[in-house]
Every structure is written in structure tokens, then in C-alpha cells.
Symmetry: C2
Subunit: 427 residues, 2 copies
């Protein structure tokens, strides 16, 4: 539930200016799905032949819209299996907040089909080019008939500059809209990549955000786009956690209109094309920016926490240990209490199940080493650390001293507000 009265203390001071992405138009409306007096539907329209890629929740109980999007993207998978090449393309994206259409069984599947049918009718695109996402309460049937009539209106109203409205329409317990934009050079031509995101609780890899939609005018074919997106998600949305809980609805979609080709940008078909270097950098930075915004709006969050683990046997082991620290309620409550409780960090390292040698461990808060070689650092000054713990952003670093595996993840603290927000979400 949006809580305009209380905005996260970690919210950005201002929203970025979001120039249009050629080939993308946006519109929002109020379907009255759950919230009163606010928009809860977002429709994005794309130029013909817009390429598309997606990364979704790994939940075994994915929502009906996630199933729908996966099926629409299946063309990419078919190529890998050597079947007929039929890359997915997108003409519209319909997103609603207030109801996740998850665990709604047959009714949910029908709601998805009906939504796609309505969106297809409103936009003139075939159903297979309609992408869908829903976020909000789980287990309640979504009344898709509420979209009826509204989508035609949105399709007519859609305009290239409705970014902030779009980011607001997809919010649930978010306290601020999340937007980011970057530019990159592809074959010497400037292209733009912009995105919006939402997510405040139930945030954990994989996926780490509930919903994020990214758009670019670069001309990149769907299979290459998929490869770029999957890789970029690993170090961003799949490296953040609020509470270790994984939504049934997590969806990250990337749409490439290809409009920059008209300005001379090259058409790129392979992910390993060298001309993508700068685009990859921009995409990575954009997703990380959005992912950090999601963490900073973690339910009840007062502190943004970066956890880096190095010296692990492998990067995978480092990430597992980093997530064990990031998800530990004892670590998170200690940080909320501005307590540099490195004993709890040791505990979280120990429980991760990866190789660790107590007597080789070193731990830093910021640049202050609090522990090394299996014990408290004699030089560690409690007052200095206390000062540091009062900051909004806390960096924790653990060196396992075993090998070279490293990983960084981001999380927030666990406060009484988290409990309050989630203890009466439905009441």
C-alpha cells in the first residue's frame, strides 16, 4: 500500500530527467483494482518489431502473468534447442498494481488471457506481442474486466514523456517512484536506455525486485538482448535482498525498439558483438541504480547496506556468504541499532555452509577493521566505529583469506517499521 505520508529516509533527493525513448509511448490510468484515488494501470506501446527479453522469479509458484510472459518469450528458447527461429517481439506492455494475480489458479489464467485480449484490441497488436505484469495482493482473483474500455483510452493518450506517472502507477508499498536513465554509444551513435522499477518487500534474489521495465532505442535482436539482460541482472537485481523472501511475480523486461537505427545505429544480432561494450556498461549501471533504489525503499529501511565478501573459494561461495550476512535478521537488527556487531557477521559467515576458516577471517565496517585472524582487532576503536554506524549507508567487508572469490550484495536494515508494515498489510 503506498504510504505517501512516510517517504523512505533513503529516497533520492530528486528524480532524474527522463528524455523520451524513440519508439516508446506510455500512459497510465485508474482501473480501481484496489486503491482509491490513484493510478494503478500502466500501458506502454512500442514500435513494430520491438525486441524483448525477460528475467523472472525462480519461484515454483510463479504468478499467471509470469507464466504468460515466459510463454511469449519462448521463441528465444526454441532457438537454443535448434527449433524454428521465431524471435519474440513486443508491441505493448500492460502492468497493474493492487493485485498480483498470483495463486489464482484457472481464474488467474483466464484473467491473463482476457487482459491480453483487451490490450490487443486496444492497441491493434496480436496477443503474442502483449506483455503483462501484475503486483499487489496474492490469492485474490484479478477482475480484468476493469481494464475494458480503459485500455483504448490509454492507447490513445500514450505519450513519450509519461515516465514519472508510469513509475508511480506500478507502486505498491513503495514510498517513492523509481526511475533511471543512461546513454551509451553503439557504433558511434548515442542510444538511450531508461527504466522504472517497483518493489519494497518480498525482495530477494532471484529475482530481487518485483517489477522492473527497461526500454532502449538501440537495435539489438531479442536473443542478444536476452543474453545481455540475464548477465546484467546477476550483478544488480539478483544481488539485492530486503528480507530474503521471493515474490511469485518478479519480472524484469527489457524492450529494444531499434529506433536508433534510423539515426545510423548498427543492428546488433550477437551479444558478444564488440560494439555492445558501452551499451553493456550503461545497462549494468542502469540496473544497479534501479536495484539500489529498490533496496533503499525496503520496507522500514533506514540504512542502505553494502556487503562485500572476498577471499572466498569461488565467486559463487562469496555471493552465498554475502547473502547469508545480508539476510540474517540478527545482522540486520544490529545495523538498525547502529551496533557494529561483528560477532553476528561471523555467525552469518559460519551458517552459510561455504568454506570459512575462523582464524583467517577479517571484517571491516567502512574502512575500520574490527576483526582479524580469528579475533577482535586490538586497534579497533569502538567510538570511531559507533560514529560510522550512524551514517545512512554502511559498508561491510569480509575477507575470508582463502582464495580470490568475491561478490557484493546490497540490503537494508531490519527495523520495527518492517514488522509494522508487514504485520498489517491486509488489515
Amino acid at each position: 500500500m503506498p504510504n505517501a505520508a512516510r517517504i523512505s529516509p533513503l529516497a533520492p533527493k530528486s528524480y532524474p530527467e527522463m528524455p523520451p525513448i524513440e519508439g516508446v509511448r506510455l500512459a497510465v490510468g485508474a482501473a480501481g483494482i484496489r486503491y482509491a484515488g490513484r493510478s494503478d494501470v500502466m500501458l506502454a506501446l512500442f514500435d513494430e518489431a520491438t525486441q524483448v527479453a525477460g528475467v523472472f522469479t525462480k519461484s515454483k509458484c510463479a504468478s499467471a502473468p509470469v507464466d504468460w510472459c515466459r510463454a511469449r518469450l519462448a521463441g528465444v528458447i526454441a532457438i537454443r534447442n535448434g527449433s524454428r527461429r521465431r524471435d519474440p517481439t513486443a508491441r505493448a506492455l500492460l502492468v497493474n498494481s493492487g493485485n498480483a494475480n498470483a495463486f489464482t489458479g484457472k481464474t488467474g489464467k483466464e484473467a491473463v488471457k482476457f487482459s491480453a485480449k483487451l490490450a490487443a484490441a486496444a492497441t491493434g497488436a496480436p496477443e503474442r506481442q502483449i506483455f503483462l505484469a501484475s503486483t499487489g495482493v496474492i490469492g485474490e482473483p484479478l477482475d480484468a474486466s476493469k481494464f475494458d474500455g480503459l485500455l483504448e483510452k490509454l492507447a490513445q493518450e500514450a505519450r513519450p514523456d509519461a515516465w514519472l506517472e508510469a513509475a508511480r502507477a506500478i507502486m505498491t508499498t513503495d514510498t517513492y517512484p523509481k526511475l533511471a536513465t543512461r546513454t551509451a554509444l553503439v557504433g558511434g551513435v548515442e542510444v538511450r536506455v531508461s527504466g522504472i522499477a517497483k518493489g519494497a518487500g518480498m525482495i530477494a534474489p532471484d529475482m530481487a525486485t518485483m517489477l522492473s521495465f527497461v526500454f532502449t532505442d538501440a537495435a539489438i535482436a531479442s536473443p542478444a538482448l536476452q543474453s545481455l539482460l540475464s548477465k546484467s541482472a546477476r550483478g544488480s537485481f539478483n544481488s539485492i535482498t530486503v528480507d530474503g523472501d521471493t515474490s511469485t511475480s518478479d519480472t524484469l523486461l527489457l524492450f529494444a525498439t531499434g529506433a536508433a537505427a534510423r539515426r545510423g545505429a548498427p543492428q546488433i544480432d550477437k551479444a558478444n558483438d564488440r560494439r555492445l561494450t558501452d551499451f553493456r556498461r550503461a545497462l549494468d549501471a542502469l540496473l544497479l541504480d534501479l536495484a539500489h533504489q529498490v533496496v533503499k525503499d525496503g520496507e522500514g529501511a533506514r540504512k542502505f547496506v553494502e556487503i562485500t565478501v572476498d577471499g572466498a573459494k569461488t565467486p559463487k561461495a562469496a555471493k552465498r556468504i554475502a547473502l547469508s550476512i545480508a539476510n540474517s535478521p540478527l545482522v540486520k537488527t544490529a545495523i538498525a541499532g547502529e551496533d557494529a556487531n561483528w560477532g553476528r557477521i561471523v555467525m552469518a559467515v559460519g551458517k552459510a555452509g561455504e568454506a570459512a576458516d575462523r582464524d583467517k577471517l577479517a571484517i571491516w565496517f567502512g574502512d575500520i577493521r574490527v576483526a582479524h585472524k580469528g579475533q577482535r582487532d586490538p586497534a579497533y576503536d569502538e567510538a570511531q566505529v559507533s560514529q560510522l554506524m550512524r551514517r545512512d549507508a554502511i559498508a561491510v567487508r569480509v575477507d575470508l583469506g582463502l582464495a580470490k572469490g568475491a561478490a557484493t550484495v546490497w540490503t537494508c536494515d531490519l527495523t520495527k517499521d518492517y514488522v509494522a508494515i508487514n504485520g498489517d498489510y491486509r488489515s
Copy 2:
């Protein structure tokens, strides 16, 4: 830190009467390790040839006392490897609260050696028959010299009826002492098994409690005792969770004095001896009783939650799903808010990574089925469920509808008090 002012609302109304266990004497004292005005040391003395078994934390950064106990028990492992048979025996158990002697490196190892030396001198037993456990703050050196002088006094004072004092001396953030006792017939002779436990946060399998010590006068050889204990821990201490965090110090020790043999109880050498049937039942019941007491004293707990998963592919899959539900902050905060939010149960099932079919799932709160076949149960009455959610004890059942794997785990809700308790533990 003990909080006598606030006792868990789930605390037992009274403590059980604890008759002596022949061959066991107990004493407590105040070494001033951390707390003022309370006992923080417990010494248990055992008859000669007392048999012993243990189950410990799976943390990769186990505390120095855990390392010590494992080494003392190593005789059992040696048998399995076919080496020389030298079963472990115990003459004394020394436990302190206030300092866990964990992540204290070399100093910690030395403190353990010194503690064992002092206990050996005070009791006249060899060091290899001394068992040790410590609980409290991690990472601070334990000053074992504080035991000097005190242990002689305790060894002299030890008496068979100091159960409640012992249970109190090992408390940290516990709000009440945990004790339980049972009897069993072994070869027609009544034997007794009694135990104490402590643990309030950082409670998760494996192990689920920080410390528990169990004593019996039955005559059971260490290897058989180990087998009984490992199995019994699986369905009790290793099936509870408060916050998913695993202590570096978790220790469960079972001591069998064999004194019942003097009353005609048979000497049992093998765990599969049929004469152990009733003892096994009593041990299972005792450990489950103590484990439930630990959960009911979970930091900030207001509700005791039993989670049963059946219809899973295997018992292991069922347990993993049950723990995923039990550890989900979103499920736990919903229960704290008395909200029968089965959508979050679905989420937790989905994220467990085990096979699950949304359209076959059924979920009950108490005996009210709230969801089945992938959607909300049409017969589900919100008012009736709300009534049920107000109770102290909540039972959640999930039927996956896939096969016959089943498991039950126990947890508590996640309240603002948990955050308060852990946000200023050190301050």
C-alpha cells in the same frame, strides 16, 4: 541479557518437578563474567564411567568450546572408522553464560584449555572427561581465570536437586528457565531422563538451540547414546527455528550415568536394542518439550507456530519447504499481525526450491482450509479465521498434493520486540 521484567507470554505456567538423576550433581555460581547479581556458571558432576553423546552447530565458525567437545567425543567417530575403541566418558560439565568464547582465536583455545584444567583440578577428573559450553557475546575474550577458586567451591557444593538454579545459570536473553523430565522403562526398570536448555535468538537448525544438557541414569554405552541423540535431535532441536540464524555455539549433550544398573536396569550397548523402545520415546518427548520451550521464548515471540507440510516428494523436501515458511519474515510478521495471509505461505512454498504445483496446493490455518487447487477456498470465512489467528498457538498446514513426504517444524512470530531486543543487545 536476561529480562526478568518481561517474561514471554508463551512461558509455561509452572516449572516441572525435577527429581534427582542418580549419578548427577549440580552447582551454580557467579563468576562475574558479564552479568551482575546473578549466577553465570553451572558445574555438573557425574559418576565414574558416565557415557556421553553430543550434537553441535553446523556453523563453519564453531566456537572454541564446541571444538573442544567434538574432540572429546572423537572416540565414537574412531570406532566407525574401525580404529581403536575408546568410548568417550564424562566426569564433569562446565557451562558459563555471558560470553560465548566464539571467534576469539588463539585466546579462545587457551581459555578453553585453561577452563578444562581448572575443572579437572576441582573435580579430580582427567581433562578428557571435562565437557565445556559457553554462551553469550561473540568475539570478546573469555577470562577463564574467573573460574579459578570458584570451581572447587562448586564441586563441594554440588547436589542432586539444583535443576532450576542450573537452568537459570545458563540463560542469556531467555525470559524463563527451561526444564523437562520424563521416565521410561528399560528392561522393566524405570529410568529417568531430564534436561535443561537455553536459547532465545540465533535459533535455527542445525542446531536449533544454543545449549541443552540432558541427563539419564540409564546404562547406555556412548556409541548407542550418540545414535539415539542424533536421531532424536532431528525431529526436535533441528526442527525449530526462531530467526533462521545459527549460533556458533549450539551444543546438545546427553550424559548417561548408568546408575540405574544398580537397580537392575540392563546395560545397553547397541542403539537398535529393542529394550530402548520406551527410552527412545521418552527422549524424543523430552527433547521436543525443551525445543518447544526454546521457541516459545523466541526473542519477542507472542505466538507459537506449528508448520506441517505434507504431500511433498520426500520428507526432506517437506522439511525444506516447512523451514522456508517458518523462516519467512513476511509469514512471521503476518502471524504477528494476526493475519491469515496464505498468499505469503504460497510465496514461501514457491521460494523453497522444491517441487510444488500451484494448482495442487491446499493450505489450512488450524482446521480451516483457506486455499485449495490453486486458489482461495470459496468456503473460507474470513471472520472465523480471524478469530483463530488471535490464539497463542497457530497451526499451519500445507498439502502439496504431489506425494507422501511430510515434516513438521515449529517457530514463533516476528514482532517489533524482536527488533528492539536485537537492535540494542550490546548497548
